[in-house]
Structures are given as C-alpha cells and as structure tokens.
C-alpha cells in the first residue's frame, strides 16, 4: 500500500537524552537488565518534559553511544516502548515520541487484573460476602471448558463483590482441584484468589472474555440490591497460564449502572499466526 500522508516536509531536529549533567544512569552492574533501564530512562525523560510529544529523538546509533549500550539492546527497549504506545518509528526518518500527553496514557496495554487489584488502583477497598465456597464434582460443561475429566472435583467460589461496602458484582469462580487443593480452608471474604493461586505457583497469563448484557433475575437483583429493571453486564472469563492450561473460569455479573469495563484493542501487526 502506498503512503498517502506526509507529516513533515523538513527534518525535525533530533533530541538527545543527555541534557542534564553527566551520562544518564545506565549501569551494567545488573540491578535490572540494560534494556529495561533504557525503557525507564526514556519514559522518565518524557514524563519530565525533556522529550515532548511529536519530537524526533536522536537516531539509534547516537543513542547507543549516549547510553553506552549496543544497538540490539537499545532496539529491544524501543520495541517495548512501541508496544506501550510511547514511541513510533518511521523507516528512513527516525523515532518519534507519540503525540499523547504521557500522563494520560494508559498504564498497561490490556491488563488482566483481579477485582482486588482494580480496586486498589482506584483507591477503594475490595471485600466479599461469601455465598458459597466448597468443592464439588464438575458438570460436563464445566469439565469441557476447563479441559478436565467430567466429574473431577472443582472448588466453587461464589461471592458478592463489594467496593467500599457497595455491592458491585456477583462472582462465580471454579478452580479444578487437580491444580490446587485446600482452597476451601481459605477465608475469601478478604483474601484475593489471585494471590492464593500465585502462592501455590499458579500464575494466570491471559484470559479470554466474552461480554454480554441481559436483564437481572429477581435473585440477582436481590443480591446486588438493584432495581429489577437494571441490566447486568455479564463477563464470562477463562484464565490460562503461560502453557495455556486453563486455570479457572469465572462468571462476573456486574450491576450495569455501577461498573464500566475497560479494555484496549490492538491492531495486529505482521506475522499473524497461520490460522
């Protein structure tokens, strides 16, 4: 495809990273990998206003000298910054700072967060009222979804999720006991399921989610203290670890007028998998 748009007719001046004092603080001592230090350094410069939206930054080979790292390492950092939407590259022209005020930028591309973590980010306290926390045999549907044998025992956790004591959602989560046992001994009115799983070596890496809207039933309306006509935002989630093993499934029914889901879609680039 032909590029129709031209941004500048003349070259923008490149901006060096070292405008204050000696060489920037990239140390080979190894507290953190060099490329992560480079990412943080550039993020800092943008936050500090040394690098402003739309600016062209110094060419790669020059940055390498300034930072004292190799080009391969620098490019690993730049790649990460592109993924975060902080920089963008233009082939024969240079690197440019993305044009959004960094303060308003999103934290992470598309984060899988627990309810507790989301609450913490908002400065609220997440608690739960437990409706059920027990092991039982799985149904055929549950077994298929979690890729276990039908009848395998599941830990079922059903909670009313509260933010600062206001009921927000109904959360029904199922974890196969083939992955973890002893969850029924935990008090989940304050504990976080994510943390419990993490402490047992189970780390969710991603989750597929389906979202739909429907009316609340009488039961649901009662538990969430809703007007019966209020719609629910229903999110059905299946979480996997890095090996794509299903870890747990959860259905979260949010009160339609008390919650808003946020997500970010990314346009796929290059090498889409072979079907």
């Amino acid at each position: 495809m032909k590029e129709v748009h031209t941004y500048f007719t003349k070259w923008a001046d490149a901006v060096a990273l070292t405008h204050d004092g000696a060489r920037p603080t990239i140390r080979a001592d190894y507290p953190e990998p060099l490329w992560i230090q480079a990412v943080n350094l550039i993020n800092d410069q943008i936050a500090r206003g040394v690098l402003r939206p739309g600016m062209r930054i110094a060419p790669e080979r020059e940055l390498c000298q300034q930072l004292g790292i190799s080009r391969v390492t620098l490019r690993k950092a730049l790649t990460k910054l592109v993924a975060d939407g902080v920089l963008s590259a233009s082939h024969g022209r240079g690197w440019y700072v993305a044009s959004t005020a960094p303060a308003r930028r999103n934290e992470w591309p598309n984060t899988l967060e627990s309810f507790s973590e989301t609450a913490a980010h908002m400065g609220l306290t997440a608690t739960s009222s437990i409706l059920r926390a027990a092991e039982a045999a799985s149904t055929v549907d549950e077994a298929e979804e979690l890729q276990i044998a039908p009848g395998t025992r599941l830990f079922r956790l059903e909670r009313v999720r509260l933010l600062d004591d206001v009921p927000i959602a109904l959360d029904a989560t199922r974890v196969p006991t083939t992955l973890v046992t002893g969850l029924d001994a935990v008090d989940f009115s304050h504990a976080s399921l994510y943390e419990e799983l993490a402490s047992r070596g189970l780390e969710p890496a991603r989750a597929d989610a389906k979202v739909e809207a429907r009316q609340a039933t009488d039961d649901e309306a009662g538990l969430l203290a809703l007007d019966k006509r209020t719609p629910l935002l229903v999110m059905r989630q299946l979480a996997f670890d890095a090996q794509n093993r299903p870890l747990f499934s959860s259905t979260i029914r949010y009160a339609g007028d008390r919650y808003r889901l946020k997500t970010q879609f990314v346009r796929s680039t290059a090498a889409g998998p072979t079907r």
Copy 2:
C-alpha cells in the same frame, strides 16, 4: 517469589523440527524476514502434529543449526510465539509447546477489528442502513476527546449495522475533518470506514474501549426492532494511530441478545511503564 510447582522430575525428550526430508524451508532469499519464516514453520509443525502440546522442543542452539539462522533471530521468533501463547519458556529447562490444541487457539492476542472484518470472519455479510452522514461542528466534549479545537468540523456517521439483514447494532462514529475530508461523498451502506481511512493513509493502531450495559430507549428499540426491555451493550471506543493521535471515536450500541463481545486480557509482564 519461590516456585512451588514442579512439572517433571525427569527431562522430557527434545523434539527436532526436521522430521521430513531435507532441511526445513527457511530461505535467506528474502520473501519474508527469516524470523517470520521461523514463526510460521513452528506454527505449521504444531498444526501438523509433529509438535504436540506439552512437548519440549529442541534447545535454541540446536534449532539454530537445524534452521540455519542465528540465535538472536531464532529468539525473535520464539518471543513472537510466546506473545501468541503458542510456546512458553522455562529458564534452565527448555522450550515447551503450550498445552492447548492450536486449532482452538485465538487468532490474534487482542484484535482491533472493524464490524465488516468481524462479519467476514463469521462468514456473514455486513451492511448498513445510513441514518446520517454529514459534516458538522464539534461540541466541546467531542473536541476534548479527539484532541481538536472545539468547533472543528467533524464527519458524523450514524448507521444501523446489519448482519445478513438482521439489525445488530447502532454505530455512531465521528472523524475530525482535520484528518480527512470528502468522507461525506462515500456511500457507507456497503463501504467500510476502516478501508476508507486506510486508503487515505490513516491506520488505526489501537483503541481504548469502555463497555457498559443499559436499557434501550424507545428510539433505540425501534431502530433495532427490539423488545423495549432488552438491554443494550454499549461500547464507547476511541481509536488512535501509531503516534497516539486520536483518529475517530465511535459509540456502538449492540442489541444485548444478538451480540457478544469477545476480548482477551493479558497479564502484564516485566517493565511496566513508570506509572
């Protein structure tokens, strides 16, 4: 954190990629970059069943020889496959094929798709009934969202979106005329907005979305031929290009019982941006 879980007590046998005929088809001629060829090759081997879920693949240094590429290039391919959830690495132990049948795996991590593209994937035909397609001055709110001066003219496109002639959603999209002009001359009852933008050099790279549920108004119910009590799934979307310039905003109101949003959340790894 300490790793609690141990997967194997004994080493799994490594699996080579070359089980059929001569060396696999990675050619330096350059139709595609070598690392993309490697990605495709490994995806193919998994699809063909040579590599099966849970298997350990040959160590990096061995694969380099088999494929005739350098370790850096191979690792670029492996990194991509990790991002796609196809492989996972374990430090001192090796590379493992993720344990989900590849056929059931998702296409792309989290795709930004147009309605037309989504329809095509489902084998349906997307059409539109145009409610409005005209330029007008922006309101203060619209201007702020799109980062333009208030009063700047916008192209407003309002459509009923149909799949195989069934009304699915109401789509209201606004594009600043500072980015593109002449859109009011296009017949959007069949044309795709994404394609029109792409042909003018505007490529969306990502979009922030907020999703909520609410009841349909009488007007909305009428346009979508809904029972008035059916809830709507409302998605408010703001699309950006690679430089983070806002390209357009769109509000899509789906009939709650005719559509289901799918998305994927990814657990953020390493180097979270500085706040």
